[in-house]
């Protein structure tokens, strides 16, 4: 399967959008494009399974390399393994849902969908890249669409949030940049060719002194994208000020770019990862616990979800930091589960906001009476967040815990226990928010006249909810995929 198709489809859709006239043309073209991409991802999944059944030798499948800058040994090198396929599926799901949820964006809709599609193209390119240069290229491509999406279509302090997000993420990129250059110049032995190519780097190995110096740069740089404490402060403002589709994509996919990057770096430099693992675990645990406590006090639904994203992404980093196979598998599961869950949550909040024009918990109430479908989506997302068995959140978190427990040693056990305990806090804020907004009396009399979800919103919700429930109830297929 030609992986570049995955990259071309969103780009072609984006260009096609530019030529459409009228809101209808724009959004149907976008929907068509993203649906095609979703089908392609399923196709990739099927093909991958087929190939994997026979091919056990190669780490990456469907590889393709084209020299980009031959003089610097930089190539457009793409390939996938189970991890990449899973992430591509996640992105495809969220994109279709995001397009559906944005059905009613009327202001500058052409630019909106164009930027959203370019954003997704960046993510797909990131997940299929095997050459670190190409990886970095796609990582940075997404900075400007994020800035514009938040700054133009957002709400609240949107310009401030957009600027903060852009600068902090660029800071992360700068760190990754330095790390990449360090790796490049220390490959190839003495006088040999330098390379950015990941499989080559994996095969040839890197000297220990080099990895010890550059691993922190790379890990922290990617970590900033995944809300590594203390560089997580772009998340609350950024996600909350963004328009719904952008929030869904930001929290659902963009934060996972960092996690994916961190994971690849760990695979590339295992000894360095082992050395730094206590620090990673420490920071991750702080993020989990502290993020949960900070969420408790939030009054705005979007801020609740944003802070809880910090806490949940802490699980990802915890799993990666623990470095056991189960823990890393848990981290990947958490990436996917949290992606779907937070996208659903943001979608539901967006739908509520569109109708009630408020996101403050204290001003909402009794929505179950007038908007049962949206409320159900809200509840599913909330329950997944607190790790109810039967939904994907439980599967992910339990795997991380089991993997973390495998590492004996007081510090690791302590970290695991603290992380477990924070689930209680998660339950507190989720149940409070859910209870107050959905149940109880109608807070404002005019809530009586609110409409429930329209077809596009229903479809988006069903798509994401199905994903969450599917993983929650039958996670084995995903498990298998990741292991391979």
């Amino acid at each position: 399967m030609n992986l570049s198709l995955l990259l071309l489809t969103p780009l072609i859709t984006a260009v096609a959008v530019l030529f459409c006239r009228g809101l209808n043309g724009i959004r149907w073209v976008s929907l068509a494009g993203t649906t095609v991409q979703l089908l392609l991802s399923f196709g990739l999944l099927a093909l991958y399974w087929k190939e994997r059944a026979t091919d056990h030798a190669h780490l990456q499948l469907f590889e393709y390399r084209h020299a980009w800058f031959a003089s610097l040994n930089i190539g457009y090198h793409v390939g996938v393994d189970g991890l990449s396929v899973a992430m591509i599926l996640l992105t495809a799901f969220i994109m279709v849902a995001a397009v559906l949820v944005s059905w009613r964006v009327e202001r500058m809709s052409k630019e909106f969908f164009f930027l959203l599609l370019v954003l997704s193209a960046g993510a797909y390119g990131f997940f299929i890249s095997l050459d670190l240069f190409t990886l970095f290229f796609f990582l940075e491509v997404s900075v400007i669409p994020k800035f514009l999406l938040i700054g133009i279509w957002g709400s609240g302090r949107k310009e401030y949030s957009a600027m903060k997000l852009a600068l902090m993420l660029m800071g992360g990129s700068a760190l990754v940049f330095v790390g990449l250059l360090g790796l490049y110049y220390h490959t190839g032995g003495v006088g040999g060719p330098h390379t950015f190519d990941m499989p080559v780097l994996l095969a040839s190995g890197l000297p220990a002194g080099v990895t010890r110096v550059f691993f922190p740069f790379l890990f922290v740089g990617f970590g900033i994208f995944t809300a590594l404490f203390p560089f997580h402060t772009w998340v609350p403002d950024g996600h909350s000020s963004a328009p719904t589709a952008a929030s869904m994509f930001l929290a659902g996919v963009s934060m996972k770019l960092g996690g994916y990057g961190c994971l690849r770096m760990v695979f590339l430099m295992p000894e360095a990862a082992r050395e730094y693992s206590p620090y990673i675990i420490g920071l991750a645990t702080i993020a989990i616990v502290y993020g949960a406590f900070a969420t408790m006090m939030q009054k705005d639904l979007k801020y609740i979800n944003a802070y809880s994203s910090i806490s949940h992404c802490g699980f990802i980093l915890l799993g990666i930091g623990m470095l056991t196979e189960t823990a890393i598998r848990g981290a990947v599961l958490q990436m996917i589960s949290h992606g779907l869950m937070t996208a659903l949550f943001f979608a539901a909040i967006g739908m509520i906001y569109d109708r009630t024009h408020t996101r403050l918990v204290e001003r909402l109430g009794g929505l179950l009476k007038t908007m049962p479908f949206i409320s159900t989506l809200f509840v599913i997302a909330g329950l997944c967040s607190l790790g109810l068995p039967g939904l994907s959140g439980f599967v992910a978190e339990i795997t991380v815990f089991m993997g973390s427990w495998q590492r004996t040693g007081e510090m690791y056990r302590l970290a695991t226990i603290l992380a477990c305990a924070s689930i209680v806090i998660t339950a507190v804020y989720i149940l409070r928010a859910t209870g107050q907004t959905i149940m109880g009396p109608l807070r404002e009399p005019n809530y009586n006249g609110l409409t429930d979800a329209t077809w596009n919103e229903k479809l988006a919700g069903i798509l994401l909810g199905a994903g969450i429930i599917a993983i929650g109830v039958a996670p084995f297929w995903l498990n298998e995929l990741i292991i391979k």
Partner: protein, 244 residues
């Protein structure tokens, strides 16, 4: 409501541990085991089973024995079959389940337990139960102010127990005051002001530095030429210092 009355009575007798109802058998076994293991636990269990008899029969006497309290009671409907059949089945179970030889059916570690007969150990719990029933009958059998007087006599303890020993209040206190106020609020505040403040501080610091050095670009060519000279002089010093 005769059927309900009978079933309720059967249930109360069973829970109080009066033979030959099923509750007796289970209580007797457990108390026997407790006597063999830990006398303190046995004592508490004994006392509690007496209390159980008391409060169950308090309920029974209050509901079924006295005149209805309300002036205009609700019309009492006949119990539908759907409700009466399960009631009877459960009552039969409560009455006779004690005769099922469970010990032969359950066996920890796949070795069948040996049953033991009913011995002298059965007497204290039953006696206490009867005592409890008697006290309940005395206090609640007829309309009177005896319960109120007893409550008044034990006023402090009564209020304490009435409020469920204030355990709920403790929970609420811990959650609201400690977790929310002492941990949650500071966490949110720290994040907003200190951690984020650090990031914003970086930005402000840069702007401040920028403001600090702006004077150099003065607009006067003489100053420019001066800095030119200074630059050359500085470089010369630096260069010579490094190179030699």
């Amino acid at each position: 409501m005769p059927l309900t009355h009978v079933c309720f009575l059967v249930a109360c007798l069973s829970i109080s541990g009066i033979p030959p109802f099923s509750g007796f058998f289970s209580k007797e076994d457990i108390l026997l085991a407790a006597w063999q293991t830990n006398k303190l636990v046995y004592g508490i269990g004994l006392f509690t089973s007496g209390l159980t008899a008391f409060y169950m029969f308090r309920l029974y006497f209050s509901i079924f024995w006295n005149k209805p309290r309300e002036e205009h009671p609700h019309k009492m409907h006949k119990l539908p079959l759907v409700e009466s059949i399960p009631l009877v089945i459960l009552a039969l179970g409560a009455a006779f389940a004690g005769f099922i030889p469970f010990s032969r059916l359950m066996s920890p570690g796949s070795v069948p337990e040996t049953a033991h007969g009913i011995g002298l150990m059965a007497v204290p719990p039953v006696a206490l139960a009867l005592l409890g029933i008697g006290i309940a009958a005395y206090l609640y059998g007829k309309e009177s102010d005896r319960p109120a007087k007893v409550a008044a006599a034990f006023r402090g303890f009564y209020t304490f127990a009435y409020h469920k020993f204030y355990i709920d209040e403790v929970y609420a206190f811990v959650t609201k005051k400690i977790i929310f106020n002492l941990i949650g609020r500071p966490a949110a505040w720290i994040d907003r002001n200190i951690v984020d403040g650090l990031m914003n501080g970086l930005a402000t610091g840069t702007a401040w530095t920028s403001a600090g050095i702006k004077r150099v670009q003065s607009g006067k060519v003489q100053d420019y030429i001066l800095y030119f000279f200074v630059g050359i002089a500085g470089l010369t010093v630096l260069f010579i210092y490094i190179y030699t």
